[in-house]
């Protein structure tokens, strides 16, 4: 009898655990996205190329909310034998969805944290910590969305006497769906303020407007399920991009960009995302140059 009781308990416990596991598996949706990008600089005085690789993992719990984690390594190769800059970045994002009856859509509250460390001898792009809260609203019929994001970035103190730097960024965004849900247009303002102009190419603020148009298609063979065209006008420095979870701590002043991307459905739960584009920059010596980049990522839902 004593022998059978633990056995019965073990079987019962196993059943409970198995059932519990199955329920949890249903409740959580896990998506991983390994990704890589390469950019070559043209007409740049000091920069040669930048290569980045990383892994992002997103965990969505039912419709309640989710967590995204990401880690990436970036190598910025300089010209004329200048030391290569190596950077590690971490990204953590949490979101919670609300569906109050008073609103005709879904409200999402989100908070992102970024951390970037590198071997910059000036320490000016090193030790970056960002906290970025955001509140967003998407109508049930997907005809429009609104969101307001804020990001507070702190950079390491300069080793060459330029002092400290903190950056405040506001990103009001509107999105519109049209063509019976076949198209989506997103317009975002980047309003970025710097605490120290010496560290911000003598600017106290920059403003830019970013527009992204996404067209949805019926995936079929080589036909992607969506294509996206993007453009940015104005000036942008030390930006935090909430959509991609990217931190622009290594860049000079961005003076515009254009991009073209597509997403292919490889299998029911697998997507290939590819993007290419050109970004125009201006450095502290007022030299203008451009970065031509390609990006690829494979997203797998488990």
């Amino acid at each position: 009898m004593k022998h059978t009781q633990p056995l019965a308990f073990a079987i019962a416990a196993t059943l409970v655990c198995t059932t519990g596991y199955a329920a949890e598996t249903d409740a959580w949706t896990i998506k991983t996205t390994p990704q890589a990008s390469y950019a070559g600089f043209s007409n740049a005085a000091t920069r040669d190329s930048i290569v980045s690789a990383g892994l992002y993992a997103d965990m969505q719990y039912l419709d309640h909310g989710g967590i995204t984690m990401g880690a990436s390594h970036t190598t910025l190769k300089m010209k004329f034998g200048a030391p290569t800059l190596q950077q590690n970045a971490l990204f953590l994002s949490g979101r919670k969805n609300f569906t109050p009856d008073a609103l005709p859509g879904k409200l999402t509250v989100r908070a992102d944290v970024h951390r970037a460390t590198n071997n910059d001898v000036t320490n000016e792009t090193n030790g970056v910590n960002v906290i970025a809260p955001q509140v967003g609203f998407m109508s049930f019929d997907k005809s429009y969305s609104l969101d307001l994001g804020y990001a507070r970035s702190r950079y390491g103190n300069s080793n060459i006497g330029n002092g400290g730097l903190s950056v405040s960024q506001w990103t009001p965004t509107v999105g519109f769906g049209f063509n019976q849900g076949g198209d989506w247009l997103q317009v975002r303002v980047y309003d970025i303020h710097f605490s120290n102009a010496l560290r911000a190419q003598n600017a106290s603020r920059t403003d830019a407007l970013e527009v992204k148009w996404t067209h949805y298609l019926v995936a079929n063979g080589l036909t992607p399920e969506q294509i996206q065209v993007g453009a940015l006008v104005g000036k942008r420095l030390y930006a935090v991009d909430g959509d991609s979870g990217a931190l622009y701590n290594l860049a000079d002043v961005q003076r515009g960009s254009a991009s073209l991307g597509a997403q292919w459905k490889l299998a029911e739960n697998t997507r290939l995302i590819a993007q290419g584009g050109v970004e125009r920059y201006e450095n502290s010596l007022a030299t203008r140059y451009s970065a031509n980049y390609v990006y690829a990522g494979i997203s797998q839902q488990w």
């Binding site: 949706t29 419709d63 569906t99 109050p100 009856d101 879904k106 049930f140 019926v218 079929n220 029911e268």
Partner: protein, 227 residues
Amino acid sequence: MKHIKIKALAFALVFASTSAHAAVTVCLWQPGYNTPESCNTSLATNNTRIWQSNYTLEKSGQYALAVAGMDEVLRQIPTHEFALMRRAWLNYSQGRHNDALRDYNQVLALNPKALDARLGITLPLLAQQRWREAAVEANKVIAVSAWDYTAHVRLMICEEGEHKWETLTRHATELATRYPGDVTAQVYLARSAAWQNDIPSARFAYLKVLQHVPDHIEANAYLKKNP
């Protein structure tokens, strides 16, 4: 002894409620015990009036008043499953989806086996486009009642909401096999084919839809656009 106590309690409550709260008759009985005669009588009189007026209020679209009626029942018997179910439905009907969720969840907390509450809770979840949660609830019904029609239809709505077209195709095909006389499975089969640009399959399914409902707007529109 226990039986007598329950009976006594039931009688006492019936008397108390008829005098103090004539609008609501409280009748408690437990499964396995005989229902007291007086309890049956009061259910047939006072209670019938409450439910009757509740259905009338619902029919005339006076959901808030109908909810207030159920509030009164629940004030006296907070665990009245059917009153909770009614209130959940009435809240859902007037767009108070979070209140409906609360009520359905209360029923499920009282009786986790309640399949109608499980199906009921999918309604406010679908209204809020909480596809995954609705799918979990529909799947819980399917787990104990494999071909429950309503659960499968609600699950197909979730699959459509999440744009899971391959899954929806498989699911709608299976449901159409189980319910060959049903048009809804054919509509979802046609939609999933249309979204996957499988025009011949979509046409085939929409033509079947027209056999059931000759003036089906969606089917006619698709067939006109894809002759």
